[in-house]
């Protein structure tokens, strides 16, 4: 468990939600050898009021977590195909089992960037990512539209809310066959869509999708880089002030509170 951060992170001392019932939400953050944004994802969870639990790819058990984030990076260097090796990690098998809605509650899982690529490789989400149409790595402050607010990870957004979060990848072009794209559109499973110029040639300007049950969501842009004023993207309020990404993390924490504790906190969680 080498990835646990010993350094106290911002947000550990005070939760954004202020609702102590939510502080117990334990959200696993998976680390592969080449994962890069795990610390950022953990920080986002803390700032949102949850507890980040480091998970190591080689472990064969999920342990006590209420949701899982597969963060960005280059899990095995991405020399072959992004996510192609990572999907075989023992932990990914456990995540797939727990995320299967037919087997129970359906663990909320979020894949960001390389994490999204891994989730598609693992067939938890449809489609695939290929190289950007311009063939370059691109880092930019990206505007997205949140088109589905019924998933575990988007419940606190308003319908069609425009948000600004960083985008940074080389293999971000979302592709799927026509039937899949049609199905995603028909079922409202395009969770995030690029606004303005399509940054990488993604089909239907798709930035993120969900599974049918809405517990598994993947997106290429990085909400975890837009959670703390001063260190996020530029937005209308000023330089590096954007914190739109935080709602992704507060959404899952509140949906967990809703599903485990029910509407009445006194009901208690099993």
């Amino acid at each position: 468990m080498a990835q646990a951060s010993e350094t106290p992170l911002i947000g550990e001392t005070g939760s954004a939600s202020g609702e102590s019932a939510l502080d117990g939400a334990r959200i696993g953050v998976v680390t592969f050898p080449g994962t890069l944004d795990d610390r950022d994802a953990a920080r986002a969870v803390r700032i949102a009021g949850g507890t980040a639990v480091p998970l190591w790819h080689a472990d064969d058990a999920l342990g006590d977590v209420d949701a899982v984030i597969v963060p960005g990076g280059f899990s095995y260097g991405d020399y072959l195909r992004a996510g192609a090796i990572s999907r075989f990690a023992p932990l990914m098998r456990r995540i797939a089992e727990s995320a299967d809605p037919s087997a129970g509650a359906g663990l909320p899982v979020l894949g960001i960037c390389n994490g999204f690529q891994i989730l598609t490789e693992a067939h938890l989400l449809p489609g695939s990512m290929i190289k950007n149409d311009h063939l370059r790595f691109r880092c930019a402050d990206q505007v997205l539209r949140v088109e589905n607010t019924s998933t575990a990870w988007t419940a606190q957004f308003t319908d069609d809310e425009p948000i600004t979060v960083p985008l940074k990848n080389q293999d971000g072009q979302y592709v799927a066959d026509a039937a899949t794209l049609e199905q995603l559109e028909a079922e409202g499973r395009v969770t995030f869509r690029y606004v303005g110029t399509n940054p990488n040639g993604s089909r239907h300007d798709i930035a993120g999708v969900s599974n049918a049950a809405g517990n598994v969501v993947g997106l290429m842009p990085h909400p975890e880089h837009a959670v703390e004023a001063g260190f996020g993207p530029d937005d209308a309020t000023g330089m590096r002030s954007g914190t739109d990404g935080l709602t992704v993390f507060t959404s899952v924490i509140s949906s967990l509170a809703g599903s485990t504790a029910g509407p009445d906190p006194a009901g208690g969680a099993a």
Partner: protein
């Protein structure tokens, strides 16, 4: 296990065959250097020993031409400069105390020659190499920067070199999870056949985690880990980096290393875990000169000797000879010294990260570095003679004969200099033309290929004056960094040019609000065997050392890159200077652009402007390079720095930007374009106070200046501060958030000119893509 179709030249064999001729010249050694090796050993060297000496005594590794000058960096250090210095020049990277128990280490290095031969891999492994220097100090790398120089933007070869270099810097740094927080890019014909790729890395650690690489403790084990050793990069330091390019020689592509950033990322985490668990006595990175360097430096920095078995090195290519194994610069390798008690725990950690390793030998008390091949001794040397006692040259140097004529050729005497723009229309056109020239155009085609967000601690990055990284998330403590060079000025006068680069980096760091603390330099020059080039080098080092003393910040490390010339054409002297500054809280960093909510804020110009167009971007636009560079006043830079830092600390200013390339015109445009927020300024008072015409006021590149924007409520307090500190300053205009325009008024025909920001941005951002895409 090795397919040996070569006979092994053992020490015993060498002693019995004194007359055997060895190819010392092919390995880049000079006749007198070879004779010196024979004298040291008392016999001819073995093939393996010759390989080691040839790479370790290369210019790149031994600093044999530059050493006598670089000493000044140590000699001109004052007590004040030593106060925060925990590790100085000579280790893998210098270490500076930041307070609160935090220390920071940073270093800039060149990878010029490889990047020209093979742009992607050359640049990528440049980043990889400097990052390993940071790791070997026990620090976690937290950011990188890059200073890039290419030939003319419209030259066909620039289209080959630039995209590859940028993709290489990005591809490697992005994969390591290191935000790229800034740097610089310049286009000039002098870099056509010698592009410069300088990479800077910065790392942080707690004081108690500081580690120095040395082999101490007799009986401790020596282990090589990371990637396997292959045939790439053989002679990279000697025959590639330490010679000029020459069309008559075969391609040097096999001398370029090939990078694997994934392996390096794993190596970073693995090394930090080894350090954290106190499982290693020391770690030495393998960069230039590979195993030759690691074994000889570890051994000579320790107390005794070292004995290793070279056939235990894990190979990618089993046909490599011992000499090739010793010289290989395969990337992503580390050497560590481990106590026998920790060996098992060491192996467990490497297994966890999936890193290969092989135990090579142990630390001895013989004072000798002994290397065996299947039990037969092929190297038996005093490691100091390899690592530290290389040749030192007092290269002859003389002021170039052409310099007088160049210095006499002032821009003011040229047609363009006599016919400066006078009317509003002419001035407006000139500003637009200047800021959309390649060297002032939007560099985001380059910087958007770099991840600036990873880690979540980036408070400022390109295009702001300095890159700013938070280190301590509870207090906000952090660092600000800038790298700068002004080669055109250094060409006109290397002493002053080096100080201008230092002053600019210092000013940039202070502009962001950080307190300058330390310097790292990358000195890129032509051939040291050419006395006028050697003079440029000597003058630049003297200027830099004097400048650091006057500013009170020490050089903590760096790198020298010579032989940046092809045939008789040398690059401009290019001392690239990195300055690191400290923040008690990065939350108070000052952005470089006017923000939308700052409507109506006052814009002040700090410092004085002289008629200094020689060597400027404006002169470059008119194809001219001659005259004298701008004057340097380091006391003024200190005063200006103190004002900018205090203004940040007391929350007086909301934007600040230094004036450098392109002068006031470029600074105004950049501050306005940053967030698309316009401004209105009037040049009258400035022209009157400093005795300038409007064009000179706009385009002069006088040092010691900055623009700031501050709320009107802060004006009184700010003016009191600058008055008390004796810094000349004047109110130039106001921020105008609604107009979308930059309006410049003055005492010229037409009264004022207006530049629409949207139109300007369109041209400004199209320059680089138009030349390098496709």
């Amino acid at each position: 296990m090795s397919d040996q179709d070569f006979s092994i030249d053992t020490v015993e064999h060498a002693s019995s065959t004194p007359d055997t001729e060895l190819p010392w010249d092919e390995l880049g050694l000079k006749a007198e250097e070879y004779e010196r090796i024979v004298a040291i050993l008392g016999r001819r060297p073995t093939a393996a020993e010759l390989a080691m000496y040839s790479v370790m005594w290369s210019e790149h590794c031994s600093y044999k031409s530059s050493k006598v000058h670089l000493r000044q960096f140590g000699e001109k250090v004052t007590e004040e400069m030593r106060r925060d210095l925990m590790v100085g020049i000579g280790e893998n990277a210098g270490v500076t105390d930041l307070g609160d128990g935090w220390a920071v280490t940073f270093k800039i290095e060149s990878h010029n020659h490889p990047s020209y031969v093979e742009p992607y891999q050359g640049a990528a492994t440049g980043v990889g190499g400097i990052v390993r220097d940071i790791i070997s100090m026990g620090a976690r790398p937290v950011a990188v920067m890059d200073a890039l120089r290419f030939g003319e933007i419209d030259h066909p070869d620039t289209r080959r070199v630039l995209p590859g270099v940028v993709a290489g810097v990005g591809g490697y740094g992005n994969s390591l999870g290191l935000p790229n927080i800034g740097g610089e890019v310049e286009f000039d014909a002098c870099y056509q056949d010698n592009p410069l790729v300088n990479a800077l890395a910065v790392g942080v650690m707690r004081h108690e985690d500081l580690r120095l690489a040395n082999a101490s403790g007799v009986g401790n084990k020596v282990v090589l880990f990371g990637a396997r050793t292959g045939g790439d990069g053989i002679g990279g330091a000697s025959v590639l980096a330490s010679e000029s390019f020459d069309d008559s020689k075969p391609s040097k592509r096999p001398s370029v290393q090939v990078g694997d950033p994934f392996s390096e990322k794993v190596l970073i985490e693995c090394c930090l875990e080894l350090f954290g668990g106190e499982l290693v006595e020391g770690i030495q990175d393998l960069g230039a000169a590979g195993i030759s360097c690691a074994t000889s430096e570890l051994a000579s920095n320790g107390e005794g000797g070292m004995h290793v078995e070279l056939t235990d090195v894990l190979l990618r290519d089993p046909t490599l000879t011992p000499g090739e194994i010793l010289m290989s610069e395969s990337q992503e390798r580390m050497m560590a010294v481990v106590t026998p008690e920790n060996a098992e725990a060491f192996e467990r950690t490497l297994a966890k990260w999936g890193v290969e390793y092989s135990w090579l030998g142990e630390v001895t008390d013989t004072g000798r570095l002994v290397i065996d091949w299947n039990g037969e001794t092929i190297v038996d040397v005093d490691p100091r003679t390899v690592a530290h006692d290389g040749p030192v040259y007092e290269r002859p140097y003389e002021r170039p004969a052409w310099l007088d004529a160049v210095q006499a050729d002032s821009f003011a005497a040229t047609e363009a200099g006599k016919d400066l723009p006078r009317t509003a229309a002419e001035l407006g056109t000139a500003v637009a033309e200047l800021v959309t020239s390649p060297n002032l155009a939007d560099p985001s085609w380059i910087t958007d290929q770099y991840d600036r967000f990873v880690g979540g601690n980036t408070a400022l990055s390109q295009p702001d004056d300095a890159g700013v990284i938070r280190i301590d998330e509870t207090t906000g403590l952090g660092v600000g960094l800038s790298v700068d060079s002004t080669p055109r000025h250094a060409y006109l006068d290397p002493y002053t040019g080096a100080q201008l680069a230092l002053a600019q980096a210092y000013r940039n760091v202070a502009t962001s609000g950080a307190i300058p603390k330390a310097v790292s330099d990358c000195l890129n020059f032509g051939s040291p065997e050419d006395p006028p080039i050697m003079w440029q080098f000597a003058e630049a080092v003297r200027g830099l050392a004097d400048g650091c003393r006057d500013l009170g910040i020490p050089v903590t490390g760096g790198n020298v890159s010579l032989y940046n010339q092809t045939g008789g054409n040398a690059i401009h002297p290019t001392p690239v200077v990195g300055v690191l500054g400290a923040f008690d809280d990065v939350g108070r960093r000052t952005p470089s652009g006017f923000e939308r909510w700052a409507d109506g804020q006052a814009i002040y110009l700090l410092g004085e402007t002289a008629a200094e167009l020689d060597g400027s971007e404006y002169a470059r636009l008119h194809g001219h390079l001659g005259g004298r560079p701008p004057q340097v006043d380091l006391q003024r830079e200190k005063t200006l720095g103190a004002v900018l830092i205090n203004a940040s600390r007391d929350g007086m200013v909301d934007a600040a930007h230094d004036l450098s390339e392109g002068g006031l015109a470029a600074a105004l445009v950049e501050m306005s374009l940053r967030f698309g927020v316009g401004s209105r300024v009037n040049l009258d008072a400035l022209c009157e106070r400093d005795g300038l015409d409007p064009a000179t006021a706009l385009f002069s590149e006088s040092a010691g200046r900055a623009l700031v924007a501050l709320p009107r409520s802060e004006e009184v307090r700010f003016k009191d501060m600058i008055t008390a500190r004796g810094l000349p300053a004047m109110r130039l205009g106001v921020v105008d958030a609604e107009s979308g325009e930059l309006e410049v008024a003055g005492d010229f025909e037409g009264g004022s000119f207006i530049l629409g920001l949207d139109e300007l941005r369109e041209i400004w951002s199209a320059v680089i893509p138009a030349h390098v895409e496709g």
